[in-house]
Every structure is written in structure tokens, then in C-alpha cells.
Amino acid sequence: MLPQFMISRRRFIKSSAAAGALGLAGAGLPLGAARAAEATIGFIYVGPKDDFGYNQAHAEGAAFLKTLEGVSIVEEENVPETVDVQKTMESMINLDGATLIFPTSFGYFDPHMLAMAAKFPDIQFRHCGGMWTEGKHPKNTGSYFGYIGQGQYLNGIVAGHTSKSKKIGFVAAKPIPQVLLNINSFLLGARAVDPAITCQVIFTGEWSLAVKEAEATNALIDQGVDVVTCHVDSPKVVVETAAGRGAFVCGYHANQAPLAPEKYLTGAEWNWANVYKMYVEKLLAGEDLPNFTRGGLADGFVKMSPLGPAVTETARTQFDDTLAEIMKGGFSVIKGPLKNNKGDVVAAEGQSFPETAPELEGMDYLVEGVVGSTS
């Protein structure tokens, strides 16, 4: 059944391309009429679809949608956050008849997606990043995002059990709130195992800068770090460099186990297939799409990579117990007493911030035990 469906979809695209050549598309009719039964959904990625990272995580979600009946997926990769992405959205609407578009990069939101949303009020736009605000942004737009910090906390637990040197490392892109929460969560996870562990962080300054990521990884390992994780668009370079130097790695964004099967411990992965499925089911049922959606491990927005062969039995037990605790909901990684690495109190005794706490969205500190600076 499935292969047949695939073939018919390809044929359909071919025939609609041919029809377009005859001038249908030129007349401004986006082939929409011919596709009444089918919904066309556009995905736009800022990097390559197979980057073992941020973009691959979204592309895996899109690939899952391709297995559903009644939807047709169009994808474009390596689209910069300039007028290019505006034109890509417009082209998907005008030439492909897309009615729902997922521009997946953070920088696509303002002004690019908002400009297109104003121009095409009948088209739905959902953006990954959590910036949509009621009353401020149009109703045909929206945001979805996941709380992945707890995934980094679980990474930290496994890292804490695995590290012999009691030094773990983090290669980070920019000192922005989302990244800082991940770094802090990773260290706090490790400290839940052994409070003597420290985490060295290096910021590369860019989301995708392979040379600096390799340099940072090497520098961490030269300083005695033996478990590394990261928050950059594509963890591929960090994972391969670290494993090549004999260090263990925890993944991020997607599953990087194929890159280092022996050295890969676990990883915090997005589970976008789940989120995209929700949108598409609502779209096909003719319901309104939610404007603001968020969730973490407990909500199926985030998942953990299967534990690797190097993970010990004690590590596995603590990992499983903590995961079970998180799945109950309301788990707080950031809780008092907690100081930042300059000695100031960031959470008093008894104070705790669950992942939904708005305070976390403005995080501007590194916790005690993280070696590094935000500026």
C-alpha cells in the first residue's frame, strides 16, 4: 500500500509540474484546486537536512509526515535568514500550493515570517522557537518549542558516572538563555552524581563554524576533559573530534550514535515528528491550529538517544530513575540553594524553577562549577 502511494505521489507531482508548464501556475493559480484532498506542507531549513543536528531533527519530523496519507511535503535546505527565506515561503505558496509552512530556524521569525504572514493571511505559519505572543503577532502564525534542558541534565548524569577526570566539557555557540540553560543543566546533572565535577565551557560565537568547534573540542580534551557535549547547529564535528581523541560524548539535537558508536553515551534529541503529527492531524480535520505549543520529555517533544555500550549499570539505574521522575512532570533542574559561578545566589534555599518557569527564559548566568564566562 505504502510504495504505491509513494509512486502515485511522485506521479502527481510530475503531472502537476507538467500542468504548470502549460501555464496554469503562470496564471497565478497555485495548483490548489487540483489538490483539494491533499494538504501541501512546506519545511524550510537553515542548514543541510543531513547535518546530524538541528536541521536533521526537523527533517526527520518531515520525513515522518511523508508516511501519512493525504499530505504532500515540500522541503528546502540551506536557506539563509534574508529575503531568500521570504521568497522561498512565497514560492512554496505560489508554485507548490502549500497551506502550512514550518520555517524552522530561529532567525526566520522576525521580520521574514511575519512579513509573509501579513501578505498571505489564509496561509498558516508555525515557527520553531517560542516567540509568538498573543495580541502582538497575527493569528495565522504561531510557535512551537521544546524544553530540552532536562535532556542535557540526563546527559550530565551519564557524563558524571563516566568521567574519570571529573572534568566535563561543553562546546557552545552563543551565550544566549537557551544555551546557558543547557550548559547549567549538563553540569547540574553531573553534580547530582558527584558534586566535585566541573564543566569547562567554550563559546564559538557562531551556530555553525566547524573549524572553531573542532578547536574548542581539542582544547577541552587537552585540559583533561573526558566527556564532551555541545549546543551548536551540527554536533557532527564535536562528536567525531572528541571520539577521535578517545573522549566520550553526549549528543544533542539528533542521534549522533552512528558517528561514534563506542563513545556515544546518550543524547538529548528533539522529537518533532510527534509535534508535526499533531499539527497535520488538526489541519486535515479542519480544526484550528494552536498558536503556542511547548513541551518537554514528559510531553513527547524531547527524547533521549538509547544508552550506548560504555554506560555502566549504576549510571543506567540513576538515568532511568531520574527519567521516570521527569516523566511525572514538574521536575526542576534549577533549584536552591544555587549560586552562579561569580558567587551570587541565583536560587535561594527552597526556591525551584520547573522547566516552564518564565525566569529561565532570561537566564544570563553560568552556575557554580561551570568554568567559563558569558561575556
Partner: protein, 372 residues
């Protein structure tokens, strides 16, 4: 080519027709050779596409539709071509002095930052004042940056290709520092940006089109640069210095100021491209300013053989390839790298075709009479 060569010898024609033919033949070379190279490059690419099991005819049909086949596609192409015009001038102007400047990206990002920085205190000022001052600030920033490359070249003998490229990295780092530090809008948490400019300072679309005024600015700049190089004494002096610096110095030409001045103007154009990105597209300065226009501009300038007028069609061609690239990905399931392979092939064939100039009798009327 052969139809011109096989015409009867000029002696048998009226002098006016003969003169017209000669005029045409001399100019045809610069059009026919690049066009032929383009066709050869695309033919080679067809082989590549056929080898990976896709249909070249479908590919070119989609490229036509995506790049030029409808009013929407044409506007899409022109939008993408707009920043390339000014970026390419940053390469083409120094090239006439024999300099290979490849760091236009640095001038673009600094131009953008400068424009955004002056826009903040100007908020509330009349529209034209704001836009003019943003443009001036951007041109100054870009001009200083590439002007410094020229000065390093002339007065300190630093290779301009290397220095401009390295300075582009410094410029991007400087932009990141300013955008994430002193100029940051505190509300821009996860995507550090400067404060958004006053809506009055936004350069809007050209009436009747969905393309911003940057396209017109780019075309005017290309024409002005052509006039400067071909029709003024400064351009003449620059061409002499580009041909032979020693000869120019012997003639008493001020080569140093010429080099610095042309580089500064080139950088100014690139800076202006950054200002237009901020004003017409982004609304503030942020990391997305480093979108690679400066590097694509190198390709455009070389394909245009450093001729400012030729930059216009070449930029539109590359804008069209870029615009259709998305459709190729979506309809033929080809990776984005396909478009880069095509660009690479065309670039290579056009560079190779440089060796063909002066080899065809058809383009050289002086040779017609000899054989007649």
C-alpha cells in the same frame, strides 16, 4: 560567428554598413563568448544530472519556471539579484586597478551595523534624513574598511587578497561583538540584534513590484561605476595603473590616492548593500547580515569580467539560478549542493573561455581585410 566572417569582403559594401558591422563585431565578442560558455557550462551540468539519474529537460524547465517563467519568479530573481549588484562592484572596481579584493563581506556587515547604529538616535527624524544618513554612515564604514585594504596594499605592500579576506573575518567578529554587546536591544534574547529602526527609515518596495529599491540603487551604482571607469579621467588613470603601475607612476599619476580612492568607493558600495539589507529586509542589524553576498559578489564580478555594466545581467542570472534552486530541491528532490555544482561549472567554463578572446577572426575586423 561564421555568418559574419563569411560575408563578402567589406570592399563590396557601403562604408556605413561596413563600419556598423565592424562596430558590432568588436562588441559581439564580449557577449557571444560568455553566452557560449554559459551554454557549454549548462550542457556539462546536464551530463552531471543525467549521471545521477535525473532528467535534464525537467531540470531546465523547472529552472526556467523558478527563475524567469512568471512575474512572481522574475520578482523573486530580482530580489535576490539586488544585493549582488553592489557586492560585485566591491570586486570589480579594485579589479580595474589590478587588485583582487575578495573581502566585500566585511564591508557589507559593517555597513549594516553602521546604518543600524545611526538609525537609533535618529528615530523620529524625517524619512529622507534618516535614510540618507544611514546610507552615508554605511558608505563611510565600508569605505574605510576596504580603503584600508587599498592603503595597506599601496603603502605597506600587504597582499590585498589576503588582507581583505582576513579583514572580513575581523569585520564579522566586530559585528557580533557590537550586536551582542554595546548595540544590543536587550529585548532580543535568543537572537541578538540592534534596536529595530524607525519604520520611517524603511526602504520600501518599488511601486508595482515586490522588489525593494535596493535593486534600483544597485543598477544606478553599476552604471555610475561604468561611467567613472570608461568616461572620466580618474577611470582612465585607474586603467593605466591597473595595466602597469610603473608606467602610471612615470606618467606622474598619483597611484596611491587612486588605489585608496577606488578601494574606498568599492567598500562604500558594499557598505551601502549592508545598509539596504538593514533598511529594506532585516529591520535591524544582526548575525544574518553575514549571508555570503560578499562572496557571491566575487563570482558575479569575475563572470562579468569586471565590467560594471555586465554585472547587471550576471547578477540577474545568478539571482535566477538561486531562485530556481529551491524549486529544484522541492520538485526533483535534489540537494541544495546541486545549484552550487551548476554555479561552479559555469564559473569554471567562463574562466576557461577567457583564453578564447582574440582568437576568432569574426570578432576582429582588422583581420577581415587581410584575408580578403
Amino acid at each position: 560567428m561564421t555568418d559574419i566572417a563569411s560575408r563578402p569582403a567589406p570592399g563590396f559594401q557601403s562604408p556605413a554598413l561596413s563600419a556598423a558591422l565592424e562596430w558590432l563585431a568588436r562588441r559581439a565578442e564580449g557577449v557571444v563568448i560568455p553566452l557560449a560558455a554559459l551554454v557549454v557550462g549548462m550542457a556539462l551540468f546536464s551530463v552531471f544530472i543525467a549521471l545521477i539519474g535525473k532528467s535534464p529537460t525537467q531540470l531546465y524547465e523547472l529552472m526556467w519556471r523558478g527563475g524567469f517563467g512568471s512575474w512572481f519568479s522574475i520578482q523573486n530573481t530580482l530580489s535576490r539579484a539586488a544585493p549582488l549588484l553592489l557586492a560585485a562592484l566591491c570586486v570589480a572596481l579594485p579589479a580595474r586597478l589590478g587588485l583582487v579584493v575578495i573581502g566585500g563581506e566585511g564591508a557589507i556587515v559593517l555597513g549594516g551595523v553602521a546604518a543600524a547604529a545611526v538609525a537609533v538616535p535618529l528615530a523620529g527624524a524625517p524619512s529622507f534624513v534618516g535614510i540618507a544618513l544611514m546610507g552615508i554612515a554605511a558608505m563611510l564604514a565600508g569605505g574605510l574598511w576596504i580603503g584600508a585594504v587599498g592603503a595597506l596594499r599601496h603603502y605597506r605592500a600587504v597582499n590585498e587578497t589576503i588582507s581583505s579576506l582576513l579583514m572580513a573575518y575581523i569585520a564579522i567578529a566586530l559585528m557580533n561583538h557590537l550586536v551582542e554587546g554595546p548595540l544590543r536591544d536587550p529585548a532580543s534574547l535568543n537572537k541578538p540584534s540592534t534596536h529595530t529602526i524607525d519604520p520611517a527609515f524603511v526602504v520600501g518596495p518599488i511601486p508595482g513590484m515586490d522588489v525593494h529599491w535596493g535593486l534600483v540603487v544597485g543598477i544606478v551604482a553599476c552604471v555610475a561605476a561604468w561611467v567613472l571607469i570608461e568616461k572620466t579621467r580618474w577611470g582612465f588613470a585607474a586603467r593605466i595603473a591597473g595595466g602597469n603601475v610603473r608606467a602610471a607612476q612615470v606618467q606622474g599619476l598619483a597611484v596611491g590616492p587612486l588605489i585608496v580612492g577606488f578601494c574606498a568607493l568599492a567598500g562604500g558600495f558594499a557598505g551601502l548593500a549592508g545598509m539596504i539589507e538593514v533598511s529594506a529586509v532585516q529591520g535591524n542589524a544582526n548575525g544574518s547580515l553575514a549571508a555570503g553576498y560578499g562572496y557571491t559578489g566575487i563570482l558575479v564580478a569575475f563572470l562579468a569580467r569586471q565590467n560594471p555594466l555586465a554585472i547587471i545581467p550576471v547578477a540577474i542570472l545568478l539571482g535566477g539560478i538561486d531562485a530556481s534552486g529551491g524549486l529544484l530541491q522541492r520538485r526533483m528532490d535534489l540537494p541544495d549542493a546541486t545549484v552550487q555544482v551548476l554555479q561552479g561549472m559555469i564559473f569554471l567554463v567562463i574562466l576557461v573561455s577567457d583564453t578564447l578572446y582574440g582568437r576568432f577572426k569574426a570578432f576582429n575586423p582588422d583581420l577581415w581585410k587581410r584575408s580578403a
